[in-house]
């Protein structure tokens, strides 16, 4: 037979064939299939490697937890998805703050006003009322009132209303309180 004329597979060829039959030349692969001696050596080698693998597997300690090989940092998907996720999260956070801010502004709780500020506003309104009532320079007011006709008792709602809201200085009503 033809295979008898060809030399048997060398040790290196047998090792290569044990890994993958395609690793040896087609003619050598044909010889391996036809030659009982080479096939026996090949089977013995692959059997020995298989047993060695099983022994190693039996002797190796089991991992305490499953592990994964780290993914390549060059992965395009990882490169783009994480920043996008962060950008999306940041945008959502900013949107929430923008939406929340006006609601915070419309919080109906009123801030306390200091007594000094209230007094300042009170004096302002008093002086405005006095000016609206009579804008003449102070020295002429009394003189004018002597000659001026009696003021109509029926005042307008506007004047009357402001008199109540901001009573004139020196009237008896200053000391009264709402109760």
């Amino acid at each position: 037979m033809k295979f008898e004329r060809e030399p048997h597979l060398t040790r290196e060829e047998l090792l290569a064939a044990a890994v993958d039959l395609k690793d040896i030349a087609a003619t050598r692969s044909t010889h391996l299939n036809a030659c009982p001696e080479c096939r026996r050596r090949h089977e013995r080698l692959t059997g020995m490697l298989a047993r060695l693998g099983r022994t190693a597997q039996d002797l190796a300690p089991a991992p305490s937890r499953p592990f994964r090989l780290p993914e390549s940092r060059n992965s395009g998907r990882r490169l783009f998805t994480k920043p996008l996720y962060l950008i999306g999260f940041t945008a959502a956070l900013l949107l929430a703050i923008v939406i929340w801010q006006p609601q915070r502004g419309s919080d109906p709780s009123t801030e306390p006003i200091t007594a000094a500020a209230l007094a300042q506003d009170r004096h302002l309104m008093q002086s405005i009322d006095a000016l609206v009532e009579n804008a003449l320079p102070a020295p002429y007011q009394a003189l004018a009132s002597i000659q001026a006709p009696q003021r109509n008792i029926e005042t307008t709602i506007e004047d009357d209303f402001f008199d109540w809201i901001v009573p004139n200085v020196g009237t008896e009503t200053v000391g009264k309180s709402l109760s």
Binding site: S106, P108, S109, T110, I113, A115, L118, A119, D121, R122, L124, M125, Q126, S127, I128, D129, L131, V132, A135, L136, P137, P139, Y140, I157, E158, D160, F161, F162, W164, I165, V166, P167, E172, T173, V174, G175, K176, S177, L178, S179
Partner: protein, 138 residues
């Protein structure tokens, strides 16, 4: 001495809230709890009234200053030995024009108040005013 100080402190403790109550009666009436309660003002409305007042305050201060300037000019003309009647009358008109502007600004604020509290409670405010007036006239 210590006894006197204690009495003084006690009097001050009593007088301070009383004085505050007297002062705070005028001005921002909506800040008075009694009025706010009678008017059933909400926190939002109180704040709106505050905002309206603060918005009206600066123009009123400016107009008040203008009236006072016109007042001074009028007084200066009146104090001259020779009275320039025409100039005095003209200045008086200017002063009155400024006064009218101030009155308008004050009335504009009153309209804002009416818009915020609504017509019903505006009338209620007039009623409260009348009740208070009756109390004062007793």
């Amino acid at each position: 001495m210590i006894k006197r100080l204690l009495i003084l402190a006690l009097l001050m403790g009593v007088a301070a809230p009383w004085a505050h109550a007297q002062e705070s009666y005028k001005g921002r009436w909506w800040r008075l709890p009694a009025v706010a309660e009678k008017m059933q003002l909400t926190e939002t409305e109180i704040r709106q009234l505050d905002n309206a007042f603060e918005a009206a305050r600066d123009p009123m201060i400016e107009l008040k200053g203008r009236v006072e300037i016109e007042q001074k000019k009028l007084r200066a003309l009146m104090e001259q030995s020779t009275l320039d009647e025409k100039a005095v009358l003209s200045q008086h008109r200017k002063q009155e024009a400024a006064r009218t502007q101030l009155a308008d600004a004050r009335f504009a604020f009153l309209m804002q108040v009416r818009k915020i509290i609504g017509p019903d409670r505006f009338n209620k405010l007039l009623e409260i005013r009348d009740e208070e007036r009756k109390l004062w006239n007793r």
